[in-house]
């Protein structure tokens, strides 16, 4: 299947006008598959972390949202152990007018503003609600441990 014009255009724009703190690079053998890196937002437990994600555009994109998942281990109430993300625009609030760029920005924003009221990882959310300080500490620790370039190999 030929790559739709929309995907080509989005890819070009991601390459030519990258969003600060976000990169998405398509695989050469499958242009619908992207390697994504998101820098953790400052003033968040994820600051200085570089989180790897994988992003896949399904056949009926943009009618359906992209499939996206964290590869880097992260302590976040809306991301489960498998890296799946709970984000409304990736589910019900998806609109074909949204794009890879906007979705990645949303994820970056999600890192800055965890939403334990709509959790995907119940235990993390519980910790977050009961003892936010501890949770943030864990998150910071995990970021250091898993999302810091020097520690990447340990993963």
């Amino acid at each position: 299947m030929a790559l739709p014009k929309r995907i080509i255009k989005e890819t070009e724009r991601l390459m030519n006008e990258p969003v600060p703190g976000i990169s998405a690079i398509p695989h050469e053998e499958n242009l619908r598959y992207f390697d994504v890196e998101i820098h953790g937002p400052s003033q968040s437990p994820y600051q200085d972390g570089i989180f790897k994600l994988e992003l896949f555009l399904p056949d009926d994109y943009p009618m359906t949202p992209p499939k996206i998942r964290f590869l880097t281990k992260i302590f976040h109430p809306n991301v489960d152990k498998l890296g799946r993300i709970c984000l409304d625009v990736l589910k019900n609030n998806w609109s074909p007018a949204l794009q890879i760029r906007t979705i990645l920005l949303s994820i970056q924003a999600l890192l800055g503003a965890p939403n334990p009221d709509d959790p995907l990882a119940p235990d993390v959310a519980k910790t977050w609600k009961e003892d936010e300080q501890a949770a943030i500490a864990t998150a910071t620790e995990w970021t250091k441990k898993y999302a810091t370039p020097t520690n990447q190999t340990d993963q």
Binding site: P4, K5, R6, K9, E10, D60, P62, M63, T64, N92, N93, S95, P96, A97
Partner: protein
């Protein structure tokens, strides 16, 4: 000599041309086929004998010695004739006087110096024979060609038979006054074979008949003389006009008796044999002599007797017929039912064929056999059918000689394919690319293609009657050549007759001839049947330029050299038909009304200025006095070309007809004998009984041409009408045609019929097709490519509901009728429902439209009543739902200017969904957010399918699918020039989605046209539909899209049509021509268009192809794209399959009866509804 005269005794047998001493011992011993004894022949030659003791023969016989040497080859015949022939005293005297006068020999040298060329010995011989010493006459005869007639009839019948001599005098014209002309050696009868036969005794007694006895074969004693019998029959047939009756009357009369030498009846021939033997005897074709092979010693009534019959052909067989044919020709015109003459002819033919079969005589030369081999592959199917038919004919012949071959034997509607037509055209179409070319006259302003020059040469040759040598030599293909037997059944040598080794039989008519039957064409014109688009008009115009009459040339010369003697006006020469003046310079063109203008403009284009005067003679323009302007006296100023319509011809004809056909009074078309007449689109006269056809037949002209791409539209009779117009003997006689073509064809004797048709077509027709290739592989005419694309249409839900409703209903009706076995009865109603179904694919409104116009008008009339659609609540509510979604048209006034501005600005953005830039068919939601139309619809569908409420992709407002508006930009409208300067002031308007376009098909059409307009703003397109009411629904959609369109349909008058066509041709902007499939079928030239939109499929693609070819024809310079709109999952899709299955439906070939056609349609319908 004396021997010959006294040859009375029954034991003697005479043979043709035998000399005296041979005759003495020619009494032949008749062996039985299975036993030895031989018996002298009974006498059988009454009438010849009667005349044999005439005086003067001896003198005549002595004359050869006095004749000049040049006559030598004939002298032998003369002797023979003198011996054999009854010679009246006068003729003997004349022969004597001739021999006296010719003692001064005919001076060949003098003669040759007169005529200026060497003369062959045979020619000379004829001339001397005919003219004696009269050199002047001989020269005249040689130069005017009448000597050929003499040659054609080297043997002539005796004057003792009145009918025969009349026939001769007709053929010979003035030459027959010389009595010795009729003195040609034709033996009274000649042996051709023998066969065994059964008879049964009518007497009983001892030794009545024994092996070897000679018996006489006689017809019933009560048999009245032949001539009155024929007349009586003719009366009978004529009065009651039922051939059945006369044949019933005839049936009684087939008894053939055999008698002993004293004339006492012994018995009768078995009926099977008697049936045809009686015919041969009655019609004086054969003489039969019998010998008994076996008879019981004591003969009892009803005992079987075996006889051997010896057959000799009578001289009258060769000459008696001609007159009858002539009679037939004059009286039998337009008689559809079989006349008594036709019946006799048929009986004779059957009998002859039977006879030849019995005696095992096979043709030594015949064209049919050879032709069969050639067509073997092509017509295997037809052959099978033929064999079947032949068997049937045979068996029915045995049972009943009256069973005519034209009786429809069965009705198994075998499907006939295009092959049939192909093979018809095969000969005429076997175009030789090396035929000579002719350059058009200098006054012709166009350049001809090679093949056109070749046809010009052919046409010139036809008009000037320069026959092709090959053709002249060929035997008339209807005839077969037979060699006279050299040995009799007893293997005894028969003496041969000099110059007569063979005789000729026409198995189609039963005609016999001693003369070589040449294929003759007397017609000084023909059929130019090139396929559409090969430039028939141009070729014809080149002929008009290149061949002008002597009178016209003289007129030209005289007008250039004023004052010369030639300038004196000549008296109008009156041709044979009283009151008709010659129009020696004028060619009359008769064309369909819609093509008059085209003819005129092409004439102008094709002629150098001032070299060809043309005028249109039509309607109010026809106040001209043709008689005065075209007659010979006015040759210098006469129009060269008069273009008129079939309607005009008809109306003038009717006027004259009402005045008792007195041509003298009129001053129009029928007052003139034109130099040439050309019928364009001549299939207009395919129905020979139509008034138009009859009117055209009456047009008088020296050269007659017809132009048509389809000489055979759907019946073989179509061709007849052309031939009738061209006056091609003998095919222009309908009974002749019917007997030899229609009847064999209808009785499934395809081979024979096709054979004959090919024969008719070959010398008459020039036909090239577009897919012919020159020897180097180049197409005849290189047309730009043509691409046909099928556009699949998805019906909207509401449309689908209407369609499904009608479909279910039609299917139910059909199945119910199938079960009840009443399909044929309910045909109209079923067909009407299918029609409705097809219409609903186009536009649901059509279904309830009262004035739907389709080609099935008949079905349509009954449609509403039969299908009960009129007061159908369910259906109307469905349609209402459909119209509810379409009828309200959103208008730009309904929106604030700022909204429009915003929308307009957004238009240049990319589509948020597909990133297309700018958006394709920008469409806005109720919350004024824009996307491509398809993206938006796709999105809404996607959401709905996933049970989500569709929300705006932008603001997440719930989208109401009815509140979608397409943005119509008026920047691509026809006033292009404003676009640049007005820039941002582009007008836009919103149209509620689905409204502007009403039905899915129209939507798709408009979309494509929009795209087209964007890409090529000046391209012109043609939109075809078979439903004119559908065209009426397309019109408003085009108007809304601000597209310029024109319309052409059958309801328009000629002037209006011409105006439309002209406007379309001249238009420089994006223009669409809406045209009904029917109106677009004929001759139109729409090459200024490059796109064709076929809105609905027809049963046979051929019809659609014809419409497409209006655009894709000669003169088209660019690629033509054709879009066929087909609704997915509908009858239309299945119609395509039916089209594929039989590229050419048999129904359109006219080879099926109406019933069969219906059956065929029902099969189609079954497929459609499956």
């Amino acid at each position: 000599m004396a021997n010959a005269g006294s040859q009375e005794p029954p034991s003697k047998r005479r043979r043709f041309f035998s000399d005296a001493d041979e005759e003495i011992h020619t009494s032949l011993l008749v062996p039985l086929s299975f036993s030895s004894p031989t018996v002298p022949r009974a006498r059988f030659f009454e009438n010849a004998v009667d005349r044999h003791d005439q005086p003067g023969r001896a003198i005549a016989a002595s004359s050869p010695s006095a004749l000049p040497v040049a006559r030598a080859p004939l002298s032998e015949q003369d002797v023979a004739s003198s011996l054999n022939r009854l010679a009246s005293p006068q003729t003997a005297v004349s022969a004597l006087s001739e021999s006296a006068s010719t003692s001064t020999p005919f001076d060949q040298t003098t003669f040759e110096s007169f005529v200026g060329e060497k003369i062959g010995a045979d020619v000379l011989e004829i001339l001397v024979e005919t003219c004696g010493n009269d050199i002047e006459r001989a020269v005249n005869m040689y130069l005017d060609g009448t000597w050929k007639i003499k040659r054609k009839f080297p043997t002539l019948p005796t004057p003792n038979r009145l009918s025969a001599s009349i026939a001769v005098s007709r053929q010979q014209g003035n030459l027959t006054i010389r009595p010795h002309d009729s003195f040609r050696p034709v033996p009274e009868s000649r042996y051709i074979g023998a066969f065994g036969v059964e008879g049964w005794a009518t007497r009983s007694g001892h030794n009545l008949l024994k092996h070897g006895d000679v018996i006489k074969i006689e017809r019933q004693k009560i048999q009245p003389p032949k001539a009155p019998a024929t007349k009586g029959q003719a009366k009978l047939g004529g009065a009651q006009s039922t051939p059945r009756m006369s044949s019933a009357a005839r049936r009684v009369d087939v008894i053939v008796r055999f008698t002993d030498a004293t004339g006492q009846e012994l018995g009768r021939l078995a009926k099977d044999t008697a049936n045809w033997v009686s015919t041969l005897m009655d019609q004086r074709i054969c003489k039969f002599e019998g010998t008994c092979v076996y008879a019981p010693e004591r003969l009892r009534t009803n005992d079987t007797v075996f006889l051997q019959l010896k057959v000799s052909l009578l001289r009258s067989a060769f000459f008696g017929r001609k007159l009858q044919t002539a009679d037939n020709r004059t009286t039998g015109l337009f008689q559809e039912t079989e006349t008594s003459e036709e019946k006799e002819l048929r009986l004779r033919q059957v009998a002859l064929v039977r006879l030849f079969q019995e005696i095992g005589l096979v043709p030594s030369r015949g064209n049919a056999a050879a032709a069969k081999d050639q067509r073997q592959g092509l017509l295997t199917a037809a052959e099978l059918a033929e064999n079947k038919a032949r068997e049937k004919t045979k068996s029915s012949e045995k049972d009943n000689p009256e069973s005519s071959p034209h009786e429809d034997e069965d009705e198994d509607g075998e499907e006939l394919e295009q092959d049939q037509l192909d093979s018809l055209y095969k000969k005429a179409q076997s175009f030789d690319f090396n035929t000579p070319e002719a350059e058009p006259a200098e006054t012709f302003a166009m350049t001809l293609r090679r093949y056109q020059k070749q046809s010009l040469h052919w046409m010139l040759a036809k008009e000037k009657d320069e026959r092709n040598e090959d053709r002249e030599l060929s035997m008339h293909p209807l005839w077969e050549e037979y060699a006279w037997p050299t040995k009799d059944y007893n293997d005894k040598e028969l003496s041969q007759v000099a110059h007569h080794p063979t005789f000729y039989v026409n198995p189609y008519s039963g005609d016999l001839s001693l003369d070589f039957p040449r294929q003759e064409q007397h017609c000084l014109g023909g059929v130019l049947a090139d396929e559409m688009g090969l430039g028939k008009t141009i070729q014809m115009l080149s002929l008009v330029h290149s061949h002008r009459s002597q009178a016209a040339i003289r007129a030209k010369e005289s007008s250039s050299s004023v004052g010369s003697v030639n300038n004196l006006p000549r008296l109008p020469s009156v041709s044979s038909s009283v009151g008709v003046s010659d129009a020696p310079c004028t060619t009359l063109v008769v064309a369909p009304m819609s093509l008059l203008a085209q003819w005129q403009s092409e004439t102008e284009n094709a002629s150098k200025e001032g070299t060809l005067k043309s005028m249109v003679y039509y309607g109010s323009d026809k106040n001209a006095d043709l008689l005065t302007s075209c007659c010979e006296a006015n040759a210098a100023n006469a129009p060269d070309l008069i273009i008129t319509s079939y309607g005009t011809v008809l109306s003038e004809f009717s006027q004259i007809a009402s005045k008792n056909r007195d041509r003298g009074g009129s001053r129009g078309i029928f007052a003139l004998n034109f130099f040439r007449v050309i019928l364009d689109e001549a299939h207009s006269i395919k129905n020979r009984q139509s008034k138009t056809a009859r009117a055209c037949y009456e047009i008088a002209a020296k050269h007659r041409w017809v132009l048509t791409g389809t000489p055979i539209v759907n019946k073989l009779e179509d061709l007849f009408s052309l031939v009738r117009f061209l006056r091609v003997e003998p095919w222009n006689n309908f009974s002749f045609w019917r007997t030899f073509i229609t009847v064999p064809f209808e009785s499934k004797d395809f081979m024979r019929a096709l054979d004959v048709v090919q024969t008719v077509l070959e010398p008459l027709v020039m036909r090239r097709t577009k897919d012919m290739k020159t020897p180097d592989g180049q197409p005849l005419v290189a047309l730009p490519p043509k691409r046909i694309e099928i556009v699949n249409i998805e019906l909207s839900e509401t449309e689908r509901a209407v369609y499904d409703y009608i479909f279910t209903r039609a299917k139910r009706t059909f199945n119910a009728n199938v079960e009840a076995g009443t399909v044929m009865k309910a045909f109209t109603s079923i067909f009407a429902q299918i029609l409705r179904l097809r219409q609903s694919c186009c536009h649901p409104i059509l279904v309830r439209n009262q004035e739907v116009v389709a080609d099935e008008e008949v079905a349509n009339a009954a449609a509403d009543a039969a299908a009960g659609f009129a007061d159908d609540m369910d259906l109307s509510s469905l349609i209402e739902r459909f119209t509810a979604t379409t009828d309200d048209i959103a208008d730009s006034n309904a929106f604030g200017a700022h909204v429009l501005g915003q929308i307009r600005d957004e238009a240049v953005n990319e589509c948020p969904i597909c990133a297309e830039e700018p958006m394709i068919d920008q469409t806005v939601t109720g919350c004024w957010h824009s996307a491509c139309k398809n993206c938006l619809l796709h999105y809404i569908k996607h959401e709905t399918d996933h049970h989500n409420v569709p929300r705006c992709f932008n603001c997440r407002e719930v989208i109401n699918s009815r509140d979608l508006f397409q943005v119509v930009r008026h920047d691509d409208d026809d006033d292009d020039k404003h676009r640049g300067c007005l820039g941002k002031e582009i007008r836009i308007s919103l149209q509620r989605l689905g409204t502007s376009d009403s039905s899915a098909k129209v939507v798709s059409l408009i979309e494509r046209l929009r795209d087209l307009r964007r890409e090529s703003p000046t391209m012109k397109s043609v939109v075809f539909s078979q439903f004119t009411s559908f065209l009426s629904l397309i019109e408003p959609a085009l108007a809304r899209a601000k597209m310029h369109f024109l319309r052409l349909d059958g309801s328009m008058a000629q002037k209006a049509r011409a105006a439309v066509l002209n406007e379309f041709r001249e238009s420089k902007k994006f223009t669409i021509l809406l045209i009904s499939l029917k109106a677009g079928g004929v001759g139109l030239n729409l090459t200024s268009a490059k796109r064709v939109f076929m809105m609905d499929p027809w049963w046979s693609f051929a019809i659609e192809a014809q419409a497409i070819d209006r655009v894709h024809r000669m003169g088209q310079e660019d690629e033509v794209k054709v879009y066929r709109f087909i609704v997915k999952d509908s009858v239309e899709e299945r119609m395509l399959k039916i089209q594929d299955r039989k590229k050419f439906i048999a129904t359109s070939l006219g080879m099926m009866s109406d019933e069969e056609k219906k059956l065929q349609r029902i099969e189609d319908i079954r497929d459609l509804l499956s």
